[in-house]
């Protein structure tokens, strides 16, 4: 609890401790200077092991200590460099133990990004309107390029990543590197000239143009109009591989294909040789099977045809006809036979019937025929016959004449 002291001379002094005054200063500064945008030049830059970044922002007359905590530092899209001009967003706070005020930075941007970002949007709009970004004018990449042209810095990770990726997929690739500056003054001119050179040489089938990651200023050459137009004018297909996934440049829009990273460019530009050989082998097996099956099928067809043809051989037809003729003859003979035997049977029965009616057979069995003498009419009844009349009896053998005695 502190006592208010309005006067330094006479009266009671209000004596504060160092901490007390420091706290007051701290509160005052904190409440007065909040969320400030401040620009200046970076000096005394230290990237601490902890991940926190310490630096001084200064201009001609003054300087202020800054601290960027690790959490905020990680979110930065660029690297703060000694001597660079930046713009920061932060709060003023007091570092109590040293009695220093400092700027707690929560966000930083390179200075002049406003200008660059504006230039980017303006060029993008202009070239889009001219049709440089149209999909249907983009050229297809060669499936298996015979020679690959790369336009990038001869040093640095990008070229190594691209080449390593290409050779990993296709070990016998032929690569021609056209070395250029990839940032700073005249880099854009060099890159554009390199694209034109490859087109004049007419050697490579595809061009990769790019570089590794960096700030917007670093990547700026790939946003320049001269490079965009060189890509557009290129007859050889161009793959743009600039920076990282998040960095989209004007080159990316104009190019025939965009690779998000140098490694991706290597994957895009060349197929995997093993995959190609595997596909060829599978196709070869299909080919052999297809021919074998085709021949088998034709053989079957031929066999079927020749079987059908055999049935139509002339002799076979004749033989068949003859066979049918025989059948018919045999049938007819059988029918006649049947007919004959039935006729025979009826004849036989008629014959025996007739035979049984033969009077001589009757006589032979012991019967006799009697008639009036001189009359041939056999007698059936004794009526009308008087005793003393003469009758004639025919026997099986012989005849007897008799006088009727009585009836």
């Amino acid at each position: 609890m502190s006592e208010k002291n309005l006067s330094l001379f006479g009266g009671k002094r209000q004596v504060l401790t160092v901490s007390e005054i420091t706290q007051q200063i701290k509160k005052l500064l904190a409440s007065s200077f909040r969320e400030l945008w401040i620009s200046g030049e970076v000096s005394n830059l230290t990237y601490h092991r902890s991940g926190h970044v310490y630096f001084t922002l200064k201009d001609e007359g003054s300087s202020i200590r800054c601290v960027l905590w690790r959490s905020a530092a990680r979110k930065l899209r660029f690297k703060i460099e000694e001597g660079s001009e930046i713009v920061v967003l932060g709060d003023i706070s007091v570092y109590e133990s040293r009695g220093e005020y400092q700027l707690k930075v929560v966000h930083a941007e390179p200075k002049g990004i406003g200008a660059l970002a504006l230039a980017f949007e303006q060029l993008k709009k202009k070239l889009a309107a001219e049709g440089l970004f149209d999909q249907d004018i983009k050229k297809p990449l060669p499936y298996l390029p015979r020679k690959i042209g790369i336009i990038t810095s001869p040093t640095g990770a990008a070229v190594r990543d691209i080449v390593r990726t290409i050779l990993g997929r296709f070990p016998n690739a032929h690569i021609i590197l056209n070395p250029v500056k990839v940032q700073g003054e005249s880099a854009a001119e060099e890159i554009a000239e390199a694209i034109a050179t490859f087109n004049r040489m007419k050697e490579v089938d595809v061009i990769i143009s790019g570089r590794g990651g960096g700030s917007l200023e670093d990547l700026w050459p790939f946003n320049e109009e001269i490079v965009a137009r060189a890509i557009f004018d290129s007859i050889i297909p161009v793959i743009s591989a600039v920076g990282h996934e998040v960095d989209v440049t004007i080159s990316d829009y104009v190019a025939d294909a965009r690779a998000a990273t140098p490694t991706a460019a290597g994957q895009l530009v060349v197929p995997n040789e093993e995959d190609l050989r595997l596909a060829l082998e599978q196709l070869r097996q299909r080919m052999v099977s297809a021919l074998r099956n085709a021949v088998l099928r034709l053989r079957e067809k031929l066999d079927r045809l020749s079987n059908a043809y055999a049935l139509r051989r002339p002799m076979e037809i004749v033989e068949q006809r003859m066979q049918r003729l025989d059948e018919t003859w045999r049938r007819t003979v059988r029918e006649i036979d049947v007919m004959l035997s039935s006729k025979r049977n009826s004849l036989n029965s008629a014959k025996s019937h007739l035979e049984s009616l033969n009077p001589r057979n009757v006589l032979a069995r012991g019967y006799s025929i009697t008639s009036m003498k001189g009359d041939s009419q056999p007698l059936k009844s004794s009526a009308g016959i008087n005793p003393g009349q003469f009758i004639e009896t025919i026997l099986s053998e012989g005849t007897i004449v008799s006088r009727v005695k009585e009836q």
């Binding site: 499936y143 001869p154 390593r164 070990p171 016998n172 032929h174 070395p179 040789e273 190609l276």
Partner: protein, 88 residues
């Protein structure tokens, strides 16, 4: 075979067929062979054409030789030469 088997490649003019063209051709021929609607003569002809194109594919793969070159540039004269390099 009464028919003459035509040479592939010579009819394209200066350039021999690319890998993609040759591979696509083999695929198409194999599909025809698999369709089963060809005569014996056609089947054999298509097979031979397919073999030719497939050999072209293998040729392109086997002929490739690893080479990494860097262009040597002069400020005034432009490209003055090339050099083989190794990239690690």
């Amino acid at each position: 075979m009464e028919e003459e088997i035509k040479e592939t490649g010579s009819q394209d003019g200066q350039e021999s067929p690319s890998y993609e063209d040759s591979f696509t051709k083999v695929e198409a021929l194999v599909k025809e062979l698999e369709s089963g609607e060809l005569s014996l003569k056609q089947s054999i002809q298509k097979y031979e054409d397919a073999v030719k194109s497939m050999n072209r594919c293998y040729e392109l793969l086997d002929e490739a030789q690893k080479k990494i070159e860097i262009l040597i540039k002069d400020a005034q004269a432009g490209i003055t030469g090339r050099q083989n390099i190794e990239i690690e």
